[in-house]
Amino acid sequence: MNLMTISNLTHWFSGLRAVTDFNLSLKKGELVAIIGPNGAGKTTIFNLITGVYRPTSGQINFEGKELVGLPTNQIITSGIARTFQNIRLFKELSVLDNIRIAQYASVCYSPLEAIFHLPGFHKEEEKIRLRSMELLQIFDLEDQAYTISKNLPYGQQRRLEIARALATQPKLLLLDEPAAGMNPAEVEHLIELIQMIRKQFQLTILLIEHQMRVVMGIAERIKVVDFGQTIAEGTPIEIQKNPRVIEAYLGEEESK
């Protein structure tokens, strides 16, 4: 069964066509990568899925529910989470708070219970803290729980971003260039991490990435976009052989 179906997604930025007729169907548990040159409209696709931009036309169907037009937070609570190309942690807040904020929607006490400190509040807070610490443990960050997140080293910030996205309890995870700025050793570690969380949280993952090592290593299916248009689609091996892709994207590397 398809988890998400995107059909004919098109978006214009005042006269400039950023995404044209984008189609994608994701099966449960798949790991699909979107690749393409800079400015090809990849991040825009993520922004359209998560409701940051409203598409000019097209549908996004997630588990039988239409996402277009919903406010961002509702899209997230229906089971989609994302990370950012440029890390966007809540820099001045602690690691634990970063994780707890991402559980905003799952908290079930009313504001009144909170400001009067009624019993329901304490119980629920305890639960959130527990869940957050578990998550931090998985990402090997539990010792840093009270560190202000801007003080974390780069690699840990990247990990925290993924952990924070998972705290929203998603079914589909959108990763926007998770390996950006990483050295080869960190990249290897990231690949393991993605494989691991995918299994442990039964995630479907949609990935934007430039590092071919990551894409070819873990993606089951690849979609190549350029100028907002899909120019190829297939398994990593098919993509590597596709002449149009070589021309548009891998060209220089292949010709060497």
């Binding site: 930025f13 991040t43 922004n47 940051v52 950012f84």
Partner: protein, 303 residues
């Protein structure tokens, strides 16, 4: 009918002044995305400069030609006000250019109140209202029952010319182009060999000069006092927001709209004390339906 024509003329007169001040708000916002809350009080300062210069000139033993005194007063007010505005920018806003925007807005609010309260506390000025002496003889004309004075026509005409000139400067000159470039991207512009500081100063000078024109004309027609920065300034500010803050033609349009509201509120409502209520309510309603103002464009957020 005559009554309405008369009121329209009055509305144009008041609206011109609002439009002139609104331009200053909108230009600074356009380039720095800063609501320069002090601008109303800069306008107030300009009226005092005009007051002192004109008193000085008229007090001379030689009688100067009226046109000369008028132009001299106007130029002196423009120069003095520009100096004040640039000083404020350099001392209060520039240190905050990299700070969160909110700090800058609060500083602007502080500067405005400082100017106002300083003028009240400062003995030679004080809280009393004054009138700028008549710089030229203003005659009243009457055509078909509609009365208008030389001064009134001067206000409407001079404001109109100033606005057209300013619009040309922003649209056609290199300075205007640089201003628009900075409002797009503050970080790339210096790479093109343009000094951001200079352009920002020029923006403040232009805004202040236009406000000074408004201030001098206003002071000749009505009385001036240190609180007018708030009374007139807030109205001009609403004009800028109603027209679409950051948009020059929007500010002009907004100014005239507010002028009409001011004049026509007492026509349709029992007293003129409802003016603030009507103007600010209009602002609220407009913001609900068109948050960017009449001519403003929505900003696109980047993720």
């Amino acid at each position: 009918m005559q009554y309405y024509v008369q009121q329209i003329l009055n509305a144009l007169q008041v609206g011109s002044v609002y439009a002139l001040i609104a331009l200053g708000y909108t230009m600074v916002y356009g380039i720095l995305t800063l609501i320069n809350f002090a601008h109303g009080d800069i306008f107030m300062v300009s009226t005092y400069i005009a007051f002192f210069v004109s008193t000085l000139l008229l007090g001379l033993t030689h009688h100067l030609p009226p046109l000369f005194t008028f132009v001299a007063t106007l130029l002196a007010a423009m120069a003095g006000t520009s100096l004040v505005a640039v000083l404020i920018e350099r001392l209060a806003y520039k240190p905050l250019r990299t700070a969160p925007r909110i700090s800058c807005v609060i500083t602007a609010l502080g500067v405005g109140l400082l100017l106002e309260n300083f003028m009240v506390a400062f003995k030679p000025i004080g809280p009393d209202s004054r009138i700028i002496p008549a710089l030229f003889e203003s005659r009243n004309y009457s055509i078909a029952g509609v009365t208008f004075s030389t001064l009134q026509i001067m206000i409407i005409l001079i404001s109109g010319i100033a606005m057209v000139l300013l619009d040309l400067v922003v649209r056609k000159t290199m300075i205007g182009m640089a201003m628009r470039a900075i409002s797009w991207d503050k970080f790339t512009v210096p790479l093109m060999g343009i000094s951001v500081d200079t352009i920002i100063s020029i923006t403040f000078i232009l805004g202040a000069s236009v406000a000074a024109i408004g201030g001098t004309l206003y002071g000749m027609a009505y009385s001036i006092d240190p609180y007018m920065g708030i009374r007139i300034g807030w109205w001009a500010f609403i004009s800028a927001v109603v027209g679409g803050i950051g948009n020059i033609r929007g500010a002009m349009l907004g100014g005239y709209i507010l002028g009409f509201i001011e004049i026509f509120t007492p026509v349709f409502l029992p007293t003129s004390t409802y003016r603030d209520f009507v103007a600010f309510s209009l602002l609220l309603v407009l913001l609900i339906f068109k948050p960017t103002g009449i001519l403003g464009k929505p900003a696109v957020q980047k993720v």
